[in-house]
Amino acid sequence: MQATTAREHGSDVPARPGEHAVEIRALSKRFRRRDGTVVPAIDEVELLVEPGEIVVLLGPSGCGKTTLLRSVAGLETPESGRISVGGRVVFDAAEKVDMPAERRGLSMVFQSYALWPHMTAARNVRYPLENRRGRRMSRKEMAAKVQRTLELVGMGGLGEQYPAQLSGGQQQRVALARALVNDSDVVLFDEPLSNVDAKVREQLRTELLATQRRLGFTALFVTHDQGEAMELATRIAVLDQGRVQQIGTPTEVYARPATEYVAKFIGNTNELSGTWDEASGSYTTALGAVRATKRGISPACLLWRPEHCSLHRERPTSGNGLEGRVVAVLYLGTHTEYLVRSGDVRSRVWVSGRNVDFQEGDDVWIGIPEEEVMVYPTGAEVSA
């Protein structure tokens, strides 16, 4: 399937409620700055989340991903658009529906954990059960459920501890237990792993994934960490300046970025600008002709990833070849990064293994297969 942008997505999917765990339609919210200027925080966002999916909202800070998540939770009030959760409308600007957060039946894990410091871990986890609508649970039932949930996140023996007595990772597990205890179908995550250190983060991520597979809840997960997004996501939604730039599986987003912005934000890229030359069937750049699968865009921005190119002593026989000189060699463990200068252009080339064939000062050729060159119209993206 071709990677789609938000626009295309919105137009061809029929509005059939009940199929989606979360359905966001044309959602917009603007913020007024102190000086009076109005900035869109989220702009006509469309997002459909299937049951059991983990959809990661990815983008730099200020891209609107957290505002979007908080709008779903009911902690922010958008200006227009509609949100339904599990087929139930929780917000609709046109119909003047705005269900308060406490009635939306969602769960959320906060960036700061937001554990109540005056309650033990078990009391924290019990809180959502006390607020259940309909039949009230007996104390015994609640205690059993709390214990089961704490065990699920590996905190079985620590229920009587206060948050201040727990490590960051443990606090995050308690926060997760609090979000899961009510068996919510949809759990929202607001950068939950950004406050724990790298090792713990990795472990929590794996466990979170396993827990989600076991329980099957739907997750909307906000992060600015693309590695985290790639690992967790069923699908990634890349946001920039309040707009969804692309929604797709991690592979799609990485291999076929819909826009120059997505290509640059996910993974590393080398860049050249060029113009299409119909006669030669290639792009004319400062470093000579470059061929690409996508043709006929002018002026164009040509991007390719460091791991998709190779280094040669001689001009490569197939694909594109760019001449240059090695100015730096960085051994990075999993691969070696060569910094190659050609005129004013610097490119990065990643070669796997510790076989350091080239040295600083060597004259080399960079080989780039035609199909690995991504072409986008120049100036289509305002943002960097």
Partner: protein
């Protein structure tokens, strides 16, 4: 599905109007409470201003003309200005020196930063004024007697003196002692936020510790010093008890004393002049504010960075112990000494310089507290008012603070918040006069009741409660409340289970301040209390005007003990509550 959107909105979704949710019941309660506070705080002031020109349905300038016709108006103004401005200048000097020694030099004593703000509350001004009288009265003052004995031993014989508290310098001294904590609080906060590199640069350039203080630290702190000065003058213009107990016997007339005299101790009350004088006080305070505003607006001071971690400690070298002793001596002299005076006189049974150390007893306390039904009544009333006013005040302040904190961006809410804190910036005396005008007569007829005192105290001291509640609210992260909502808890549940327990240490501290201010109050009490609703402050005033000094001392001592016990217990308790949560 037949509707155009395909989905019928669920029945429990709230209807919105103009993009906003309907307020929850919590918000409604908060709004109503805020409205009540607003009325309570702003109407008295408006009432005073309106009464200035409008009486019994007529436009009139009687208040102005009668005030201007007061014989000694010039003297009254002069005396008030000299005492207030003189003590404020001294307070800025002493307060900033103390703050500097205790935050930025190696002479500092950690515990003082926590204790200083509470010092004036530990010894309410009325008790302090009585205490200083006991110590430094020209003839019978204990310190004077001891000083005379000492001088006699070296051949100098005096009949009176050497000091006299009922004098210009005595009055200014006691005013200064009570104004210093205000300066200390603003200046020490600013000093803690001052970038130490500024001082280091001065030291490296060859300036000594004191030159650095004079040339670098003090100029950089000018805004904080200005704020401290402003607070001191505000305190001075509103202060009644010290002026009454120390100034009046010295023949120094001050405006607050005159206002009370005209309203409470004249029959019929002379409202016109009292109003005129109140407006003069408002003008003075207003002028002080305007000056402060102008200075800040023009200044280049604003750019001091708040990098508190850069904060350096000046090494005083061999001066260290001297400075430290000086700070300790100051605290002892200004707090402990007057208490000693009070206790010694009350235990001795009568006020004389010849203390019978062997026969000290509690008779005076027994007589003052247990055999006089009026005093008993006064204590019961004050305690009840303190408890009811303290609890009600701090709870209301907490609800309003939570409401305001969630809507920081809203201009209306900001304005409301500022208006509630207004009495903190207008003279207490004037607010009390306004409450009297507003509620004592028709149609409320609350004059001489318990309720008018409660409302008066709340109007005067709620700003403090509100500031304490704001600080408590600020310690609760926004996400804690949001987590409760997402977990399905309604607003009241979040208030009961999350906000209230987390704010408790701060609220308990706020309650203590409210309680102590209410019990030790004389400003509102002098105007709103009477024989039908007598309170401790008023009773002390009555005894001062015509009773035994031992009774006066015993009453004041009892007040000090009650205040001290409450403060210590409550502050200890609030620490305990805080610890229990995290351990």
């Amino acid at each position: 599905m037949t509707t155009t959107t395909g989905i019928a909105p669920p029945a429990d979704a709230r209807r919105r109007r103009a993009g906003r949710r309907l307020p929850t019941s919590f918000d409604l309660v908060a709004l109503v409470l805020a409205g009540v506070l607003l009325v309570l705080v702003c109407f008295p002031l408006l009432r005073v201003l309106v009464r200035m020109f409008y009486k019994d349905g007529h436009l009139t300038f009687e208040a102005i003309s009668k005030t201007l016709a007061v014989d000694d108006l010039g003297e009254l103004l002069f005396d008030t200005l000299v005492v207030v401005l003189g003590s404020s200048v001294l307070a800025v000097l002493v307060g900033s020196l103390l703050a500097w020694a205790n935050t930025r030099t190696n002479a500092r004593l950690g515990f003082l930063n926590g204790v200083f703000p509470y010092l004036p509350f530990l010894l309410p001004p009325i008790a302090g004024a009585v205490g200083w009288t006991m110590l430094l009265s020209e003839k019978a003052g204990l310190l004077n007697a001891w000083a005379r004995d000492g001088l006699g031993a070296v051949g100098v014989h005096l009949e009176t003196g050497p000091f006299d508290i009922n004098s210009w310098y005595g009055l200014i001294f006691v005013y200064t002692v009570y104004a210093v904590p205000y300066v200390y609080m603003t200046v020490s906060a600013a000093m803690q936020g001052l970038d130490g590199n500024l001082e280091q640069a001065s030291r490296v350039s060859g300036a000594g510790a004191f030159k650095t203080l004079r040339r670098v630290t003090l100029p950089a702190l000018a805004p904080a010093l200005g704020a401290g000065f402003l607070l001191s003058t505000w305190f001075g213009f509103g202060m009644f008890s010290i002026a009454q107990i120390i100034g009046t016997p010295a023949g120094i007339d001050m405006i607050p004393v005159r206002i009370v005299k005209l309203l409470t101790f004249s029959y019929p009350p002379n409202e016109d002049v009292a109003i005129g004088l109140s407006v003069i006080v408002v003008l003075f305070v207003g002028a002080a504010y305007y000056t402060q505003y102008r200075i800040l607006k023009k200044s280049r001071f604003a750019a001091i960075s708040g990098r508190a971690d850069q904060h350096t400690v000046t090494d005083l070298g061999r001066w260290r112990h001297l400075v430290r002793s000086g700070v300790l001596l100051y605290v002892l002299v200004t707090t402990v000494l007057p208490m000693v005076g009070l206790f010694v006189v009350s235990l001795n049974g009568y006020w004389t310089s010849n203390i019978q150390w062997t026969s000290l007893n509690f008779d005076a306390f027994r007589v003052a507290l247990f055999e006089d039904p009026k005093t008993q009544e006064a204590f019961v009333n004050s305690m009840t008012l303190g408890l009811v006013g303290g609890v009600a005040g701090i709870l209301v302040a907490a609800i309003v603070s939570l409401y305001v904190a969630a809507r920081r961006a809203n201009r209306m809410v900001q304005g409301m918040d500022a208006a509630i804190k207004l009495p903190a910036s207008i003279s207490h005396m004037v607010i009390a006069v306004g409450i009297l005008l507003l509620l004592a007569g028709e149609p409320f007829d609350l004059g001489g009741t318990w309720l008018i005192l409660l409302l008066g105290y709340l109007a005067l001291y709620l700003p403090q409660a509100s500031i304490a509640a704001d600080a408590a609210v600020a310690t609760i992260g926004k996400e804690l409340g949001e987590a409760s909502r997402v977990s399905g808890g309604g607003r009241w549940k979040a208030f009961r289970r999350i906000d209230l327990p987390l704010m408790l240490p701060g609220l308990v501290g706020g309650f203590a301040l409210l309680f102590v201010r209410i019990v030790g109050d004389l400003t509102a009490s002098a105007i709103l209390s009477g024989t039908d609703n007598v309170v401790v402050g008023f009773r002390i005033l009555e005894v001062f005007n015509g009773g035994s000094y031992a009774t006066l001392a015993a009453l004041s001592s009892a007040l000090v003990v009650v205040t001290g016990v409450i403060l210590v217990v409550v502050l200890w308790l609030s620490k305990r509550i805080g610890v229990a949560k995290t351990r």
